[in-house]
């Protein structure tokens, strides 16, 4: 009897331990998600307490909304280019900084430094550098440039550059950690066998680094698809529609044009797209990892 009681009490403690976590999770994630799914079928304005159910109307509207597709296009362009650039740069830096190089710890700190400041700050600093700092510097070389953020053709690339500056830190650390997990003997024996730097990278280092590549591609891609702060504080979607991304478009629809129900339908579609991207990317990378 005493044993059973003790076991029950123990079980009760375990249950009690998990309650706070479950409560917080339900409040911050589950309830908002259910509320959002429900609102996406209404004509809610986002403010008042009145709304009516309109069926799939919002989703049909989203499908026909050129603004949403344009924002989606901008987001895809931004995310793909940024993912590629961040990974190439951080891998190159990791390779160099993992090898012998004087002051490599100082360099690591410098390349990581931009990632710890807030995006509000980096957006502000870069807006100014684009408009004044860099043109001033280049004018010494006789070049005349204006801020890319004011030009619809270059604004998105201007933002990509800022995000690259801020986004290299973590992937670089992950690549360095991955490189340190590769046994030294492998590349040494390859060297003895006559493999050059490129060959030993292509056939030994890179395949063994595949898990780090997978995780970095996934983290940077999903992170950049969700971009909000940087666009919001620098260009706010402009000039024109040049840098409007899905997140800022949803924000504008929900909070500025008072179309809460419609904004939620856009959010749900965006969520679905993110899940598909994640699943597809994971399965492709995992298969590649096995093959190599």
């Amino acid at each position: 009897m005493g044993n059973l009681q003790r076991a029950l009490r123990k079980e009760m403690w375990y249950l009690l331990f998990i309650v706070p976590g479950v409560c917080l999770f339900i409040m911050a994630v589950v309830i908002p998600l259910i509320m959002g799914a429900r609102y996406s079928f209404t004509n809610w304005d986002g403010v008042s307490n009145k709304f009516a159910f309109v069926g799939w109307d919002n989703y049909v509207k989203a499908y026909q909304d050129p603004g949403f597709w344009a924002a989606l296009g901008n987001t895809a362009k931004y995310a793909l280019i940024l993912t590629l650039l961040v990974n190439v740069f951080s891998l190159l830096l990791a390779l160099v900084l993992d090898a012998f190089l004087p002051l490599r710890n100082v360099f690591r700190t410098i390349f990581f430094l931009p990632s710890v400041i807030s995006i509000v700050l980096s957006g502000f600093i870069w807006s100014y550098n684009y408009s004044t700092g860099i043109p001033q510097l280049l004018s010494h070389f006789g070049l005349d440039v204006t801020s890319p953020l004011g030009n619809p053709d270059y604004a998105l690339f201007g933002l990509i550059l800022v995000a690259l500056w801020q986004g290299i830190g973590s992937p670089m650390i992950i690549y360095i950690a991955g490189l340190q997990g590769i046994p030294q003997e492998l590349s040494e024996s390859a060297k003895i066998d006559g493999a050059g730097v490129w060959k030993s990278f292509r056939h030994i280092t890179f395949p063994l680094l595949a898990p780090s590549v997978t995780i970095n591609l996934l983290l940077v891609l999903t992170g950049s698809l969700k971009v909000f702060d940087l666009v919001f504080v620098t260009t706010n979607g402009g000039p024109g529609f040049a840098t409007e991304v899905v997140s800022t478009y949803i924000y504008r629809t929900s909070f500025s044009s008072f179309q809460g129900g419609y904004g939620m339908a856009l959010s749900m579609m965006f969520f679905l797209i993110l899940v598909i991207v994640t699943v597809v990317q994971m399965s492709i990378s995992r298969r590649r990892e096995v093959e190599m």
């Binding site: 976590g21 999770f25 190089l101 807030s118 969520f271």
Partner: protein, 272 residues
């Protein structure tokens, strides 16, 4: 071979200088007056002038913003650590379907982007009177942070041998006693990871404070800066002084905690 090494070193050095350039401009701007900037953009000022800082300190509510940031970041992190360690302990030790399902729910929650739930969260915050309070935003950060936290703690606790706990049980220690006296002290490495990752994220977060802390009294540093930059866009030297002021705490934190941050990111990648 030696030549390539020197070439690589020079290349990295140049790249590092390019990386530091925007920050250099920010600091440079903050110690000059508008006239000095106009006369010679890149020159260092003849004498260091901190009046911009003094002025920024007086016109902004910097002390209020920094205490808001400290309170919100600090308490959120404590909440995340405690709640996820407790939940992680239960999940790791009761390897039963019920607990595993909860674990999977936490995991899949990490897929949901914030933008998807922001409008309902705002509505929820308004209904429950959580807007413009410290506790409201702390609870939401708690709900976000524990998803990753539980993942880390569960994996870590699973590797701790049960023998210590069994010995403690025989000695008459209750389950909470075991958790707080035996398990919690063993969790230091993983706690360091959870703390630094969440602290950096919460300290720099912009979107949730934008929704939840509109009131001047409750704004965190990034939000306060956002409004300050909008307000003083004509007095750039002043705005940059404020920018640098806001940058200092997080850079100091980074330099002190660098070892843990780097470890945390590497560990996070493996877990993910």
């Amino acid at each position: 071979m030696k030549k390539t090494r020197i070439a690589v070193f020079v290349l990295i050095l140049v790249l590092a200088l390019i990386f530091l350039f925007p920050l250099y401009i920010a600091v440079l701007m903050s110690v000059k007056t508008a006239k000095q900037t106009f006369d010679s953009f890149y020159a260092l000022p003849s004498s260091l002038d901190f009046s911009n800082y003094l002025h920024a300190w007086q016109t902004s509510k910097f002390p209020v913003a920094i205490s808001n940031s400290l309170i919100i970041t600090g308490l959120s992190v404590v909440l995340i650590v405690l709640v996820s360690a407790l939940a992680g302990y239960s999940i790791a030790r009761r390897n039963k379907p019920f607990y595993n399902i909860i674990f999977l729910l936490f995991l899949s929650g990490m897929m949901i982007p914030f933008q998807v739930t922001m409008l309902p969260l705002y509505k929820l915050g308004k209904t429950l009177h959580m807007l413009n309070t410290h506790w409201g935003i702390i609870l939401i950060y708690g709900g976000f942070g524990i998803q990753m936290g539980v993942l880390f703690y569960t994996a870590f606790i699973k590797q701790i041998s049960r023998e210590i706990e069994e010995a403690a049980t025989i000695d008459g220690c209750s389950t909470p006693g075991i958790f707080f006296r035996v398990i919690l002290p063993l969790l230091k490495p993983v706690t360091a990871t959870v703390v630094v990752l969440n602290a950096l994220y919460i300290w720099n977060d912009f979107l949730l404070p934008l929704l939840y802390l509109q009131d001047n009294q409750y704004r965190t540093i990034p939000l306060q800066q956002y409004f300050f930059f909008g307000q003083y866009s004509s007095d750039l030297n002043l705005a940059f002084a404020y920018a640098v002021m806001g940058m200092i705490p997080v850079i100091v934190f980074f330099l002190l905690m660098q070892k843990f941050i780097i470890k945390g990111i590497a560990a996070g990648a493996v877990k993910g």
